[in-house]
Symmetry: C2
Subunit: 222 residues, 2 copies
Amino acid sequence: MKKKISLSSLNRLCQIYRFLERMIGEGKNRISSSELGEFLGLASHNVRKDISFLGEPGSVGSGYSASKLHDFLAEKLQLAKHRNVCVVGLGRIGSAVLAYEGFMASGYSVVAGFDTDINLLDTIKTPVKVYPTHMIDEIVKVKQIELAVIAVPGDATQNIADRLIRAGIMGIVNFSPAIIRCRTEGLFITNLNLINEFTLLSAQIALHESQAMHFQQDVKRR
Amino acid sequence: MKKKISLSSLNRLCQIYRFLERMIGEGKNRISSSELGEFLGLASHNVRKDISFLGEPGSVGSGYSASKLHDFLAEKLQLAKHRNVCVVGLGRIGSAVLAYEGFMASGYSVVAGFDTDINLLDTIKTPVKVYPTHMIDEIVKVKQIELAVIAVPGDATQNIADRLIRAGIMGIVNFSPAIIRCRTEGLFITNLNLINEFTLLSAQIALHESQAMHFQQDVKRR
DNA sequence: ACCTGTGAATAGTTTCACAGCT
DNA sequence: AGCTGTGAAACTATTCACAGGT
C-alpha cells in the first residue's frame, strides 16, 4: 500500500503548486529545489522529499521544469479540478469573501451565499445568488457545491456545519471562533480564527522574550 | 535550560485558554483533561502533556479548576497582556477586520488602519483612525502597536511587511497570497490565505477519494 | 558542476502506562 | 473510582549524505 502523505507535506506541495503557477505566468520554466525552497522558506531537501512522495516527476538530473512539475502536481492531487464554493453568514467577513473575484483564477467559484437574515438577503448587493440558510441542503446539492466558508457567529457554527455536512459538503473553512465537532469520514475542516491567531502570536512573543524560540513558522492547528 | 515548547502544543494551549474563558463565563469551574480534550478534539494525554510543559498548575488529583488553569496559562504565556493591532490594506477583508468589535473582549484593540489610497481614507466610515501607509512607522511607534493584519494585494505584501517590521511590529497575520520572506529574530508570522486553504482542502478530498487519509486536522503551515 | 531521489540518521511529537494524589 | 503528571515507548517528520543522472 502507498505510504500516507503527511498533512504538512501536502500543504507544502499546495504552496509549491501555486508558486509554480506564478512562475509560469512570469515565463520562467526551469527551477531547482533550492530555488523553490528559497521562495517558500523551506530546505531544498524538504522540497525534494515532498515531491518524491508522489513519485518520480520526470526531470531527474537538472532542476524541474516548472510546467511539468505543475502538471504532475495537478494530476496527483487533482488540483486542476474546478470546485464550487458557498459562503454561509453574510456579515462583514462573509460578504468580503463573497465579493472577492480572485478565486476564479485558481479554479474556485463562489456560487451561493447563505444567511438567516431575510432583510439582509434582500438588500445585499452581490453578483452571487444568496439564499436563506434553510435552503442549504437543496442548493448545495443542486449547484454541486463541495467547499464551504463559514462566517457565522460562534453559537450558530455547529448547527450550520451540521447542515452543510448533511448536504454533502466535503471541505469547510471555518472563520468562526467555535470549533466544529464532527467525525464524518472524508470531511476536511480548516479553522481560521483571528482571535486564536492573535493569541498564538502573543504567546510566541511572550515566550520569545524570555527564552529563545523559533519563528516564522506556522502551526499544526486543531 | 527549560525545554522549548512546540508550536503545535502552544497553539493547543491557546485554544484551551479561550475555551476556559467560555466555560468560566458559563459558570462551570471544574473540568478534567478528558472533557477538555473532548471539546477541542484532542486526546486527554495530549491535553495533560501540553499543560504540564508549563509546569505544575496546582490541581493534582481531581480535574482542573477552570479559573486556576486559566490564570496559570495567562501568566505563563502572558495572555492577559493587552495588545494593540493595526490593519494594513482597507479593501473588503481589511475593512471587515477593522470594523469587527469582537477583539476587545479578548484583549486586542484595533487602533489604526492604513491604506495607500487617499480617497479611500477620506470616504471610509469607521470608528478606527486611518492613515496613509507612509505613516506606518510613525503611528506604529506612537500607538505602541505590536500586531498587524496585512490585507493588501500580493505584490504589495513584502513592501508593507518590511515597513511594519522596521517599525517594530512583533506579530503579523497575513491574509495576502504572497509569502513574506524575512529572517528577523523575534518576529512571528501567520499566513491565512483562502486560496491556499481551498487548494489544501481539495488535495485532501482528492487523496481521500483514493486512499484513506486522516481528517479534521489542521496543518503546520509556513 | 550542479541537480534529483532516496535510504539512513537525527530530531521531534504523540501515545502509552502507571505511580501517586484526592 | 477517577484524576493528574510524567518517564518511556512508539511513531512521525525532517535533515543529512551520497549514488547516480544530465
